[in-house]
């Protein structure tokens, strides 16, 4: 198992290093294909390699035509099986944090909550890999208020670090009857205003925490981005009058997420490559938006 892991990690790194070359090849093939389709002469720089490339084009099918990136590899098999999530906290969690994590375990379908105890992060990741978990979610707090969320995709996957703001938990709402029980159907997802590449990437990371829903579920989970602050909302809708009337009822916790780092490794790999990190000290950081345009 260990050897296999090592081998697969090396393969992953090697593929990542080949990406640049693959992209070049893909570009060349695309140019040749276009030239052939339009009937134009093939560009002169490709004349030497044209024959070999044309043969490859003929042999391609839809899967191989698209250049694959390591990002795709991470979530390549995510759609084939349902995600399995492990939720846990930082050490010595307070009671409000534990309640929040319990709520989150209902938000994500197929999620398991675990007491942290005194475990080391690497232990947790090892055992999760052994038990075929796809994601690990860690929640951190400050004096009872949840303030950090770490989403780690498991085989070697990326880790996204979020800061939580304006957290309102279900436990804070005193009227239990009004809020009712939490439905456990697989929800529909809405991702709004994630337009940049980084935005797409974060949307992917959050999207693959959820399984494939049935088309007719009434449960909606929304991630709405407004100037780099992502609002999480959880609703149930009902259609009363027919066409246009939709009534939304908010259930579940609501919070704002603020992405501050994406790492190309799991949580326990401290030396993993950083894909993106927030830089608030730059003079122009106030004007720039990273998740939207």
């Amino acid at each position: 198992m260990l050897r296999r892991n090592i081998r697969m990690r090396r393969e992953y790194l090697y593929r990542k290093s080949l990406e640049g070359k693959e992209r070049l090849l893909y570009e060349k093939k695309r140019k040749i294909r276009e030239a052939l389709q339009e009937g134009k002469p093939i560009p002169t720089e490709l004349r030497n390699e044209e024959a070999a490339l044309r043969r490859e084009i003929d042999l391609e099918d839809e899967n191989t035509a698209v250049p694959r990136t390591h990002i795709d590899d991470e979530y390549a098999h995510a759609a084939e099986k349902d995600p399995k999530i492990l939720l846990t906290t930082s050490r010595d969690p307070s009671a409000p944090l534990q309640q929040f994590v319990k709520e989150l375990s209902y938000v994500f379908p197929n999620a398991q909550r675990m007491n942290r105890g005194g475990q080391v992060i690497s232990e947790i990741i090892e055992s999760c890999r052994a038990h075929d978990y796809t994601d690990v979610v860690l929640v951190h707090e400050h004096r009872g208020v949840p303030d950090g969320l770490i989403v780690c995709h498991l085989p070697y996957g990326p880790t996204a670090y979020f800061g939580l703001l304006n957290v309102v938990t279900r436990h804070e709402i005193k009227d239990k009857k009004a809020i009712g029980t939490m439905p456990e159907a697989y929800p529909h997802l809405i991702f709004d205003n994630f337009s940049t590449k980084l935005g797409e990437r974060t949307a992917n990371i959050l999207k693959y925490l959820f399984p494939v829903p049935k088309p007719d579920t009434k449960r909606i989970v929304t991630f709405s981005n407004q100037s780099d602050y992502v609002s999480f909302r959880h609703h149930i809708y009902e259609k009363h009058g027919g066409p246009k009337s939709i009534e939304l009822k908010e259930i579940g916790p609501r919070f704002e997420l603020r992405l501050y780092q994406i790492k190309l490794g799991t949580v326990d790999q401290a030396e993993a490559q950083i894909e993106w990190v927030i830089r608030p000290y730059m003079n122009t950081s106030k004007k720039r938006k990273f998740l939207s345009d």
Partner: protein, 581 residues
């Protein structure tokens, strides 16, 4: 005359005995008393002023100004004559001893006074400076009701007037011996007090000198003054005693002259008495200013020195002006008030410039350099470089919900899409029934089953396709090699043990026309044929001795076995023998 004298003394005594702050408010009774006291003092001084036109101080129905002018008439010539005498004595010290014998305490006082005068002679400049300062103080001390007149006198001929004042004091001191010593004023006590104050003053000077040394960097303006002052401070300590002496005399003179007006008694004089009562140094007191009453008391020595060295009349005038203005009530004109304000502002600004800046204006300040918790009081403003966290208002929530509703109606969700299945499926292995006769003989089939049973790993692969079999074998080899490459520790090649049945076929088979030869190597090795103990050689191969030996061994074994059998039989046969026999 005696009655009036007594009355005058009585009045004087009563005046002295009154509670000083009561002088602050106008009081007709007090006014009467003070007028009587001043008349008494005037008449007491009368014998020493030959040229005085007035025999008695006229107080009934007279204004304060008029009373003052009368006193002046008497005191001006007195002062000048005193000065002349003092100078004369200064030049001829031996003549002092020739002076008339005076009553006890006065003699001592006189000598002391003359000593002081002698000391002062050596340093004329400072004396003049001191006199100036002291003279101004003296003027202030003399406490003028009418500031206008005073100012007029100053502006006209300040030095002259000051000089005259000095003389007056001197004259008064000498001439008023009889009038000075009183129940109230004991010269000895006064002398002791003055010495004590002198010591205090010296200590204060040293302190301030030390402070000045530390603050030198900041007060660059005062550096020159400081230097001068430092040089003269030692000398000044001697001067102080002179000044104090003169001040005491001045006090006495004042009391004799009765230069105070009861109506609208001057704040200053009352305070002066009070403070002196409290043991304050007279010089300090005289150099007090209005601000000092309500301000920090720690700057006296500095101020005094500053004053002592300010030869500029303007500053003196300013000081005087300010003092007089502030001390008088209701007699300041608008212009003067403005001037007042401007001067006070100037003072403030100068003071602020001299002091070190507040910590907020000092650029980079660590917590150690500012007072505790001072950052809480100041309104600090930072420039934040990050967008602030969004406040979730009703509008924000409503906008989000609108967007959600829109998406629902459209059915536009960002769900996870199921991955498309691979187009080709792996064909299932179909078991076909084969009609043909099986190529393997039955024995071979049994062989195979036996081998599988014994060694499950050598079971033939269940793939149908030959190619697939080859491919899987190749991949196993490859996987092995890759695994070996993927880590640094050596993993030996695994030994695949094959099991197969070996038949001991003879080398040559002669049954058929063409002899088929089978290689020797495939046959069993001799030890595989037979291994172990027992009679290896056959009967026909043995020699005679060997045959005999074999037979002997056989017999021996048989006999041993027979004995054993007999032993058993004896045990069992004991009973039947007994039964038989």
């Amino acid at each position: 005359m005696a009655d009036s004298k007594d009355a005058g003394e009585e009045a004087l005594r009563r005046l002295i005995a009154t509670f000083q702050p009561s002088f602050l408010a106008p009081n007709p009774a007090l006014s009467e008393t003070s007028r009587a006291a001043s008349r008494h003092l005037f008449s007491a001084l009368r014998p020493f002023c030959p040229k005085s036109p007035l025999d008695q101080l006229l107080i009934d129905g007279f204004d304060a100004e008029q009373i003052w002018q009368q006193i002046d008439l008497q005191s001006q010539p007195l002062l000048s004559s005193l000065r002349r005498q003092v100078k004369h004595f200064a030049k001829n010290p031996e003549e002092i001893s020739k002076l008339k014998v005076v009553p006890l305490g006065k003699k001592v006082e006189k000598e002391q006074r003359e000593d002081w005068v002698e000391e002062s002679d050596g340093f004329d400049e400072e004396l003049e400076d001191d006199e100036e300062g002291e003279g101004k103080g003296g003027e202030e001390g003399m406490d003028i009701e009418d500031e206008d007149e005073e100012q007029g006198r100053e502006s006209d001929n300040e030095e002259e007037s000051e000089g005259e004042d000095e003389e007056e004091k001197g004259e008064d001191g000498e001439a008023g011996d009889g009038g000075i010593e009183d129940k109230f004023l004991k010269i000895d006590e006064l002398a002791k007090y003055l010495e004590k104050e002198e010591e205090n003053f010296e200590k204060a000077e040293e302190d301030t000198r030390g402070k000045k040394g530390a603050d030198d960097e900041e007060n660059t303006e005062d550096d020159d003054d400081d230097d001068e002052e430092e040089e003269e401070e030692e000398e000044e300590s001697d001067e102080v005693s002179v000044l104090l002496g003169m001040l005491s005399l001045d006090l006495a003179a004042k009391m004799q002259q009765g230069t105070w007006k009861m109506q609208g008694m001057d704040l200053f004089y009352g305070v002066f008495l009070t403070l002196e009562h409290c043991g304050w140094d007279e010089q300090f007191i005289l150099l007090l200013r209005y601000e000092d009453f309500f301000g920090d008391k720690g700057k006296y020595s500095k101020k005094m020195k500053a004053q002592l060295h300010q030869e500029s009349e303007g500053s003196d005038e300013e000081d005087d002006d300010m003092k007089f203005k502030k001390q008088n009530k209701g007699t300041a004109s608008t212009h003067q008030k403005q001037l007042e304000k401007i001067h006070s502002k100037i003072e403030e600004m100068e003071k602020a410039n001299l002091e070190p800046k507040t910590w907020t204006m000092q650029g980079e300040v660590t917590a150690a350099k500012r007072p505790k918790n001072s950052a809480l009081e100041v309104d600090l403003d930072f420039e934040h470089n990050v967008r602030p966290a969004p406040v979730i208002t009703e509008e924000v929530t409503a906008s989000i919900e609108d967007m959600i509703k829109k998406r629902i109606t459209e059915g536009n969700f960002n769900d996870v899409q199921k991955a498309p299945k691979l187009p080709s499926k792996v064909p299932r292995e179909v078991k076909e029934l084969d009609d043909n006769k099986s190529k393997k003989g039955l024995a071979e089939i049994y062989e195979q089953e036996y081998v599988e049973k014994e060694d499950p790993t050598s079971a033939p692969l269940s793939f149908r396709d030959e190619q697939k079999q080859q491919a899987s074998v190749l991949f196993k080899k490859l996987g092995l090699k890759l695994d070996a490459l993927a880590h640094f520790s050596f993993a030996p090649k695994p030994v695949i043990e094959d099991m197969s049945v070996q038949i001991n076929v003879p080398a040559l088979a002669m049954e058929e026309i063409a002899p088929v030869a089978v290689s020797d190597a495939a046959m069993l090795a001799p030890e595989e044929v037979f291994e172990g103990k027992g009679d290896i050689k056959e009967e026909t191969e043995l020699t005679k001795e060997e045959r005999k030996r074999r037979r002997a061994n056989k017999k021996r074994r048989f006999k041993a076995a027979a004995v054993k059998r007999m032993g058993k039989k004896v045990q069992e046969g004991a009973l039947p023998n007994q039964m038989n026999g």
